[in-house]
Symmetry: C2
Subunit: 398 residues, 2 copies
């Protein structure tokens, strides 16, 4: 079995020991009255974390990409017009998933590393005949872009369309305001901001989205992801649909409890402060941040690989020397950026310092000119400006 690593990639992030312990709870039947209590608590806590009153809020029994497919498969029928923001790998995937499900996809493209402009979404909505759904990625994991959502959700609704967002890399890291923003469907994962292992995809559907599901002219192409069936299992009917991944639900339950104990606002602030310190350090080192200024995710920083530096070797050395995982770029950004995650349990001051120090050491030894120590000083200055203790998650509760 693998040894522990410091996981500073785009996820999975490190798992809180309380979550590991929760997974040792005995497996019981998926309709066991005790498991039903766990299900009810998960739904309740997910509503808090999604900031929603949506009744239909539960974890899909698959990973984040299963959440994407579940949302798309339920809201799309053959021939439906769907407007999709495409400015990275996950927007590209959204368009592909929608297309396979029979949608007529209107892509709103933007250069990878920049946001999807609301004006372009408006133009696509105007060009469409009868748009049913707008889908964009809130935190584009391939580029580090923090997509503004509210204006696009307003546009969608003004055109009579529903709004879906990909919150795989945003939930519990930055504000995800399902009800306030008027989001009709949203999916996330367990292994990033929530700090559990991968294996489930929390989703939420608005009353309007469920009305659309119940009014479908054709059955959902996917039986496994059909929320009209799953709601009868996760709802009071407890009708058997599939066997929920019991242990992963224990993990999610405990992870959600930790998030709610810390408080969402405190958690968002922690992510913001650690990212500010890390990004200050990166710049002080002489490196460039890769994502559009003003729209950088705190939980995932993308760094431009400097000319002459072997990006893969830097990652390999980080792993070999310091046991730190960071990630490469995807698609057109392959070889051009690194992706450094400070998310969930991993967003902590010590990781900021470890990563900056390690990057400085490795890139410096490869001939990139660095004024040694400047990165740590810049990070410390950033922390000082915020006051002490801001960069740490709460200690493990008893």
């Amino acid at each position: 079995m693998p040894a522990a690593r410091i996981l500073l990639g785009p996820g999975p992030s490190n798992v809180n020991p309380r979550v590991m312990k929760a997974m040792l709870s005995p497996v019981v039947g998926h309709l066991d009255p005790d498991f039903v209590k766990v299900m009810e608590n998960i739904k309740r806590l997910l509503r808090i974390v999604f900031r929603t009153k949506n009744e239909i809020t539960f974890p899909v029994s698959g990973t984040g990409s299963a959440g994407m497919e579940a949302v798309m498969a339920n809201l799309i029928e053959d021939g439906d017009e769907v407007v999709v923001g495409v400015n990275g790998a996950f927007g590209t995937r959204l368009a592909e998933v929608a297309s396979r499900l029979g949608a007529k996809v209107h892509k709103v493209e933007a250069v990878w590393g920049t946001i999807v402009e609301p004006a372009k979404v408006a133009a696509a909505l105007n060009a469409a005949k009868d748009p049913k759904l707008v889908a964009v990625v809130h935190a584009e994991t391939s580029t580090g872009i923090h997509q503004p959502i509210e204006e696009i959700a307003d546009l969608a609704h003004r055109h009579g369309a529903m709004m879906a967002i990909d919150a795989v890399t945003s939930l519990a890291c930055v504000p995800v305001e399902i009800d306030k923003w008027g989001i009709d469907a949203c999916y996330s994962c367990t292994q990033k901001g929530l700090g559990a292992p991968p294996g489930l995809a929390p989703v939420t559907f608005s009353a309007r989205a469920m009305e659309s599901v119940h009014k479908r002219k054709t059955k959902c192409r996917s039986w496994y992801f059909d929320v009209a069936l799953i709601e009868q299992y996760w709802g009071p009917d407890r009708l058997y649909h599939h066997t929920a991944p019991i242990t992963m639900n224990y993990a999610l339950y405990e992870a959600l409890r930790i998030v709610v104990e810390e408080g969402l606002e405190a958690r968002w602030r922690r992510h913001r402060i650690n990212a500010a310190a890390f990004q200050a350090g990166v710049r002080a080192m002489g490196l460039q941040l890769a994502a559009q200024e003003g729209y950088r995710l705190p939980q995932l920083t993308t760094i431009a690989v400097p000319a002459g530096i072997d990006e893969a070797k830097v990652r390999a050395e980080l792993l070999r020397l310091f046991n730190i995982e960071i990630a490469a770029g995807l698609g057109p950004l392959k070889g051009k950026i690194w992706r450094v995650g400070l998310m969930g349990e991993g967003s902590r001051r010590e990781n900021v310092m470890l990563a900056l120090n390690a990057l400085e050491e490795i890139i410096g030894s490869m001939g990139f000119e660095i004024a040694r120590g400047r990165a740590l000083t810049a990070a410390e200055d950033a922390y000082s400006a915020e006051g002490t203790g801001a960069g740490e998650p709460p200690a493990e509760a008893s």
Copy 2:
């Protein structure tokens, strides 16, 4: 969190402590070189357990029903003719899944609790214009029927069709001979015969099935389950598709190691012996077995609820008094049968004795006339006929 139970339902079954420990292994990245080794070992061990040389053998990142959908979604295109055996809840589900994916479904129906007759499959194949796929359930979890496969697979191939089987409740309990029987696609789960928690669906696709996948005229409707994409992640390319459920893969790896250490033949024999003892005890108590004689699963015994007995109360009392979970009937068998699983780690002599004794106590107290003690004697006689020690799984290894 729930307390431990004796899980004698149709799954999940009890989990070996070694598997629980394996889940405490640190979560690492889904492309981490150490995790890649785990993936390779899982594929190797799954091939042993499926009795196949199929290259494309891996766990789908979802539960058993996700395995069903993955097999169907990859092999079916709009308008394809599919022959499906329907003699229980899971055959019904297979037909439903195939239909949603656009197949023209030819159902071969049989009374719940009886097998699908090969002659009827032959008739359906003859009636079809160009059958592409035959799909049947090997172990029908809703009825306890052990479906003969070989003759149906031969028929399918003679008609130029592929053969798919549902081995959700059969793998690692009774022989599943993918290569010998000529099975083109098969799916299972982790929480029954394999003795891990639910969360993954081992699947295997023959070279012929993969050829059909690669020759599709249309893309697989499901991006998440598209084996043409997943094979590039689970294969040597290691192309990112989705984030595998790391911890569940650790659990599956350890569970597979335990199965292979015990040996498949020994494991099948253990299931057979414990079932023979349990079923002898049930009959000695005066109860009737519900599945067609000669085709009863060892890992899942179905018992007819005697007239005048409240079946739900029996289950509730088993749970309340003895902490034993058994299951109710589904669909037309609701209220008419109990389903008692002796599968994986749970197939052990002590569970046979506990279950018989508890059933006798509860049903006896409800006015069903039982000659007390006869069930245990019958079970002991069955064990004696097999020699000692046959009913226990191996002790936990160091």
